[in-house]
Amino acid sequence: MRTSAHGDILMQYIDLYDIIVVGGGHAGSEAALAAARMGCKTLLLTHSVETLGQMSCNPSIGGIGKGHLVKEVDALGGAMAAVTDEAGIQFRILNSRKGPAVRATRAQADRALYRKAMRAQLENHPNLCIFQQAVDDLILEGDKVTGVITQIGVRFRARTVVLTAGTFLAGRVHVGLENYQAGRAGDPPALTLAQRLRELKLPVGRLKTGTPPRIDGRSIDFSVMTEQPGDDPAPVFSFMGSREQHPQQLPCWITHTHEGTHDIIRAGLDRSPLFTGVIEGIGPRYCPSIEDKITRFADKNSHQIFLEPEGLTTHEFYPNGISTSLPYDVQYALVRSIKGMENAHITRPGYAIEYDYFDPQGLKSSLETKSIAGLFFAGQINGTTGYEEAAAQGLLAGLNAALQVKDRDAWCPKRNEAYLGVLVDDLITRGVSEPYRMFTSRAEYRLSLREDNADLRLTEIGRSLGVVDDVRWAAFEKKREAIAREQERLKSTWVNPRVVDAAETLRVLGQAMEREYPLLDLLRRPDVTYGALMTLPGAGPGVDSVQVAEQVEIQAKYQGYIERQQEEIERSAQQENTRLPQDLDYAKISGLSIEAQQKLAKHQPETLGQAARISGITPATISVLMVYAKRGFSGQRKTA
């Protein structure tokens, strides 16, 4: 027995875990579940079992780009979509009038139900143990991680460690000019671990995020606000889910700030930690605080506020749109200036939180750190924001940790395969300058990467990796087969204008048919829906499954664009598939500028495609690298 730095007695656990996941947020939960699904002996360490699956910011899951990630996590057997189906109290499809590529599911979730459902998933999963203790230190042997040490000095040994410490690392909360060390939503910060990681010389930075004050719904006058109900029928998040899982549904409410509100905020700016330089971390441009909004867009005299219910068993509302770190007296006045909130009772003050993140350029595309073997990072510590981004990374990190334990190659989805691939590639090649959030505009293959086909893109891969169970696999195979069968039927069923009544074709197609067509060609027309087409005499009956019908229709409508994107993907395949050896000495490659040599040496890109996306790397540099790649980089290795 030795003593820890704090003088506590160390206890060495006998068990050797395959994977230890540190943190029980959205990244940690998916990481632990993925590893356990793959049959690895997994330990989840959290500072509090009660806050497993905690939504520490706004109570919603999904949205444009984010919903895409949730569907991908689901397609790979993850929990987020299924848990949301059990906890969601309002479901909507955003962009429903736009094309399927940009349609996205969004749900308000009951925080308590969400925690409960996620905890049930974790606690009931085979191969997965949970232990409540904050982690203070990593055990290293050389450049390899071999375990962790908890706050009271317990040592756990593991083959791999997935760190998902979120915003807890050296967290500092700001309300006005007051600030104190803390984690999210009243939790303690992870200071010792942060200190330890800084000692390991992992490149660290500082980011900022914030939340609005919460309001007691009983003190809000909803009668003067605009009601925003969920979609009817309510969308379902998981490919395996059903509407029957949903609890009672609630609406959201919309109100606005006005010039009076803005005057109150302006008068308080001298005590704002953001505007007085107290906060150094960089906040997200797409989620600015209300004080930031009225300063940057001074000509806008009103801002939208969405009042989102926090749950079925609480009166609390989350006023989305007035995130703030102004002093409490200013928060109080600004909330009460808003229409319908004149008598509002604030239940929790808004705050900003600064936290450490690690430069994700220090990660491999498997999310393993380049400097410490077996150590994986996922979630907000990589500079991202959002539950969905965290969950997606968590799943990938847990999966790749498991693959490493099994001595198998890491799975690194490409940009043309998944938003998950876009996310990781963006992070590791470009780093972050603000908390990173997913948008569909980040995905150059957006038309191929849709919510609706996440399972068709990923479930088969997930099955071969070992994260997709038998039930999901069977359902997926059945769906895929039904799609193929229906597509074949539509291709081979011809509609002849001499047989079908002209009034019918006019009704369904909006115009007369001049010659014979297969049904599939008719479905390609922009204004012809699958449902309407099936009412054409001789065309139906179609398939019953909504998912199958939707897929057949979307694939028909998008075919031209998908084929073009496919050509683009093939054109870029050479760059994407050209691997750059990790022992490459860029100083030995003539024709590269010093700047390019330094950047490449720092980033150690894994492929030519990754290199091309590093900022400041020019096409000329890529051409030079390509020439050397063709010669196999002989003579440019560090060992050479």
């Binding site: 955003l94 569909t440 010093i594």
Partner: protein, 442 residues
């Protein structure tokens, strides 16, 4: 380091001149300049010095200019030695540089380093190459414009407008709850129209630039006694300017290249096109036919005294049917015919020069030259391809304003094609633009 060695070259044209320049670029030249000039050189100042030969002798006395990295043409240390212009002096200076570890620069290597070090973009670097290669004064002026980044500036301005339009489009897709997707379609259509118009102006200017750079191939055909040679001499004018050679197999077929309003026009002579059993001659004939297949225009010279004969028609019939053919009725003075032009028929006299202006104008018009190098950019084939791809993308975009995700896709492709010209990739431009213009923040 072997991979980034010091390079040196005589930078001025060969031959005698008042001054001549030797230019040196490398990672660290302070030591070399001290040895060569005998004193430490202040940055960016003309310093009079004696260029030493290393054995205590002096090669020349001249001005030395030292540009420490990164504020230099190549981005590395650059040393310019201005000596007297004689070839012997410059050769000795260069030799001395090589003795001190430099190697002779490859053609274009200074510009290549400037590009690799981010001192100029791809279009600018190509502009330098074009300036060096420029075969006519007008081409040189256009190349000059490209170096000064005017072409890049036009591309970047177009790119900026496209980024704005894309940001507007992407914002409606990514932020549907932010009260910004109302009434944007009209705005999008208006912006798209403006970009298309600007691009088509730029494309037309680049087309002309391409003509200035690449020139045109013109077949000169006719019976042996129709006066092809005198016509050619007359076209070439006083200075028989052999301005450039075109590469590859067509070279043998070119008899002369002439300068027509600044456009290099390469004349393919058909004099040798006859049946032959000689192997070497056969190869030459085959090459001539290959050149004719690529030609932009044919000029059939006809004896105006005899009028168009069966032989003339036979010659015309052997040319590719798609090739436009001008008929030049020569010897108007002998035929006592009035000179002038009617469509593709021009009556002229190579001997007196009458009617030649009509022929020049007709050729220029037929090869697509619209006159004047003002605003014309020295575009390469690569630029034209990219500009046309962008144009096609924008045209498809214009048909997709009802489906925003398709519109966005077409705009993305058009933007990518456009920015491939200057070689600048700016992935985060879009989001930056969105957040600068729209208050996002649900």
């Amino acid at each position: 380091m072997a991979d980034r060695d010091t390079i040196a070259a005589i930078a001025t044209a060969p031959g005698r001149a008042g001054i001549g320049v030797v230019r040196i670029s490398g990672r660290a030249l302070a030591d070399l300049s001290l040895k060569l000039c005998g004193k430490a050189l202040p940055p960016r100042m003309a310093t009079l010095c004696d260029f030493g030969d290393g054995d205590g002798g002096i090669i020349d006395r001249g001005l030395a200019l030292y540009f420490p990295a990164p504020q230099s043409y190549t981005g590395e240390d650059v040393l310019e030695l201005q000596g007297h212009g004689g070839p012997v002096v410059l050769q000795r200076l260069l030799k001395r540089c090589l003795e001190m570890g430099a190697r002779v620069a490859e053609p274009g290597e200074f510009s290549k380093r400037a590009y690799l070090n981010g001192k100029m973009d791809l279009a600018q670097a190509e502009g330098v190459a074009d300036l060096i290669d420029a075969s006519t004064e007008q081409a040189a002026r256009c190349a000059q414009r490209s170096i000064h980044g005017e072409f890049s500036a036009e591309i970047n301005e177009l790119g900026r407008q496209l980024v704005e339009l894309r940001a507007l489009t992407e914002a409606t897709l990514d932020f549907p709850e932010e009260e910004i997707d109302t009434g944007t379609t009209d705005d999008q259509v208006r912006r798209l129209g403006a970009i298309q118009e600007k691009l088509s102006v730029l494309l037309s200017a680049s087309d002309q630039g391409s003509l200035l750079r690449e020139g045109a191939l013109v077949v000169l055909a006719g019976q042996p006694n129709a006066g092809k040679s005198s016509l050619l001499n007359r076209l070439a004018g006083e200075e028989v300017a052999i301005v450039t050679e075109i590469p590859g197999t067509t070279r043998d077929a070119i008899r002369q290249s002439i300068n027509l309003f600044g456009v290099p026009v390469h004349m393919i002579d058909t004099a040798g096109l006859r049946e032959s059993s000689d192997a070497v001659e056969k190869m030459g004939i085959a090459r001539t036919w290959a050149a004719i297949a690529q030609a932009d225009l044919a000029v059939l010279v006809i004896d105006a005294v005899k009028g168009e004969s069966a032989e003339d028609r036979a010659i015309a019939a052997r040319l590719p049917t798609s090739l436009r053919c001008l008929q030049a009725f020569n010897k108007s003075d002998l035929a006592r015919k009035a000179v002038g032009r009617e469509g593709d028929k021009i009556v002229l006299s190579a001997k007196t020069g009458e009617g030649m202006d009509d022929l020049r104008a007709a050729i220029a018009e037929a090869i697509g030259w619209r006159g004047g190098a003002e605003g014309v950019f020295m575009a390469r084939a690569r630029h034209l391809t990219a500009l046309r791809a962008a144009q096609a993308g924008l045209a498809r975009a214009a048909t997709q304003t009802r489906q925003q995700e398709f519109l966005a896709q077409e705009l993305r492709e058009a933007h990518g094609a456009l920015m491939s010209i200057t070689g600048e990739v700016t992935p985060d431009d879009l989001l930056g633009e969105i957040f600068a213009h729209f208050c996002i923040g649900k």
